[in-house]
Amino acid sequence: MNSRLSRRSLLAATAGLGGAGLLTGCVGTSGSEGGGAAAGGGGGGGGGGGVVFQNSIQDTAPKAALEALVQAYDGEVTMNSVATEQFRAQLTNYLRSNDPPDVMSWYAGSVARDYAAQGLLLDVSGMWEGDGACAGFSEALKNLSTAEDGTQIFVPTNYYWWSVFYRKSAFERWGVQPPATWDEFLALCENLSGQGVAPLANGIGSTPWMASGWFDYLDLRLNGAQYHRELLAGEHSFTDPEVVAVMEQYERLIPYFDPDMGSYSAQDAAVPMAQDQAGMYLIGAFVTQYFPEDQRDDLDFFSVPVIDPAVPTAEEAPTDGYFAAAGTSDPDATIAFLSYLAAPEQQQAFIEQSGSSNLPTSPDVDTSAFSPLVQKGIELLNSTQEITQFFNRDSSDALQTTADTALTQFLADPGSRDRILQEWQRAAEGVFGQ
């Protein structure tokens, strides 16, 4: 043992210590960022024979309802549930894998179309004709499920609607009525503000996409669904006077939002409403799951009031469903399983058991047993002229990110609107240029 050796070991140990810290850091970050960063894909066999059903349904009750359906299916199905964000990141890898899962749950619209354009989705046109499971679905749903080449690649099984939700008992206590016009709506916000209630709940902290809800609706009300779709497809600029008009209306709402919305998630933001500290919430019908059991029947909603009567009415109704991988090893079994999921009996069972406020896509579902809220939702969507999905579903996840950045900045600092819109347009051009 000489002194040189011991000094060297000491150095080694110090380096080791540093390495340990570094590695711990790596492990820590990789754990928490797993959802977004993981781009790798699972490959290989997803479980012996039968249909492999990869899905992203996570919310407790809907998941249990889907599991029950799969269990009742007369055929071999392996169901794998993967957390939504992870599923989103892995989907391309699933589809591109040598032995892809056969059936996958995902969103209708541009996302599915993109995959179809890459030749990754199974053509399910057969289900849409003759006595196929989807033959009776509405024309709008068929268009939504149709790829650019005219074939159907998606099987929609349920959808939900967006609206302004409120609690009937709270409105009674405050002595207010649901508004019929935009001016009434603003007056209602002013009134609630005066009563010490935050008129509009929102949660854009960990769920920044919630800020797009109001953007979508204001754009639909001011410029119409056609313009909205074109804007999200990159045919208009975010610096257009039309978008500026949307932002001007949005700016009028800012003082009425819950001042804590920046730190809430979509779910947290429902708590002040449950406590009568917030009045209304523009959100999807999944909001019913946020409330305690005994308050769910108290919930009601009204559509975002018309601003310009000349603009055709439109509602957001994101559609969920399934598509199949083009590389499936057993197309017949895959289609049989898809047909089972799309059949009216299964849709009805799913909606009844899941407890979330979903609407059936099949016209043959007996809706009489559904809750009054769902009945009202069906009526709303039947009476509207145009149906859109949601910002990310009408465009892409990449464009959604640009909207999240722009809108959260705008909500915090509406004075910099023009600069923010310019940056948004630049970011959007980057997305479309890819």
Binding site: L5, A12, V27, G44, N80, D268
Partner: protein, 292 residues
């Protein structure tokens, strides 16, 4: 240690004995007790949520003090058996990966530290350099390789990946430690006719026990808590380890926080047990080789 270095002037032994005692004034506790409470607060917070009912959380918020006490969260977390199965997967993967990586890296470290292998410094640095790459950039290659090898979506693949990524660091630490073992021992063993294998088994391994135990403890926590590799190589829900299963409990739109909190507590138990069993080694592990 710090107390004696603070008073370099004092020479007499009895005084040195008294000094550290005075340095142990209440300040240690005054500072450490609140710090400890601060460190514990997230755990307490999660525990409080785990025992609340969903309606209580939905009506009064996550941060409110509990107004309900129920075991529903635990019951829901355990129902369906998913959590138990995931715990089983995690424990199997962790045990296999820790044993395999320590065995392999101790062989490598023994060879690199005791034999004149050409380019051993380069080998060692290359092994360590792999650890400096962020795992994210290797996700796609690992997914592709495991798929082309036909081992994707198996627990074996996960163990292989964990061993592969851990071995460089473990070898580096063990190499430092084994180099510090006195050469005389090896000479004596060789004089007694022991071969390389026997020396490894009878001398190197027993003497490296502290370092191995420390690494075992660290590796167990790392591998048990890993999420990213599990999600990269696995696809079937039935093979998911506990971390991925926990992620699955998060809802797409709404989350039953009481269930997630309950499941998180359950998931933390194995690592907590390992930590308490190996507590001494955890601390000594940070000093591996430093006092040789």
């Amino acid at each position: 240690m710090s107390a004696t270095t603070l008073t370099p002037g004092t020479a007499a032994t009895p005084q040195q004995w008294r000094k550290p005692r005075r340095a142990r004034s209440p300040w240690l506790h005054v500072v450490m007790v609140p710090l400890t409470l601060l460190w514990l607060s997230p755990v307490v917070y999660v525990a409080l949520i785990a025992f609340r009912s969903f309606d209580d959380i939905a009506a009064r918020g996550l941060a409110a003090l509990p107004a309900s006490f129920t075991l529903d969260g635990f019951a829901t977390a355990f129902s369906g058996g998913g959590l138990v199965r995931a715990l089983g997967n995690s424990i199997a993967v962790t045990a296999a990966a820790v044993l395999a990586s320590l065995a392999l890296s101790s062989w490598a470290a023994y060879a690199l530290s005791r034999f004149a292998i050409p380019g051993r410094k380069t080998i060692l640095l290359a092994m360590l350099a792999g650890n400096l790459l962020p795992p994210q950039i290797l996700l796609v290659p690992v997914a592709r390789i495991s798929e082309s090898l036909g081992i994707a979506d198996t627990l074996f693949a996960l163990v292989a990946v964990q061993v592969g990524f851990g071995i460089g660091f473990y070898t580096f630490v063990l190499h430092g430690f084994m180099r510090g073992l006195p050469e005389e021992l090896f000479e004596a063993a060789r004089l007694d006719g022991a071969g390389a294998g026997r020396i490894y088994w009878r001398i190197v391994l027993p003497l490296s026990r502290p370092a191995m135990a420390a690494l075992a403890a660290l590796a167990t926590t790392w591998i048990f808590n890993d999420l990213i590799w599990a999600l990269t190589v696995l696809r079937s829900e039935s093979k998911f380890p506990i971390t991925a299963a926990l992620l699955n409990l998060m809802g797409g739109y709404s989350s039953a926080w009481n269930v997630i909190a309950a499941a998180s507590l359950v998931a933390a138990v194995p690592t907590a047990i390992v930590f308490f069993l190996f507590q001494k080694q955890f601390v000594s592990g940070l000093l591996v080789g430093s006092n040789k």
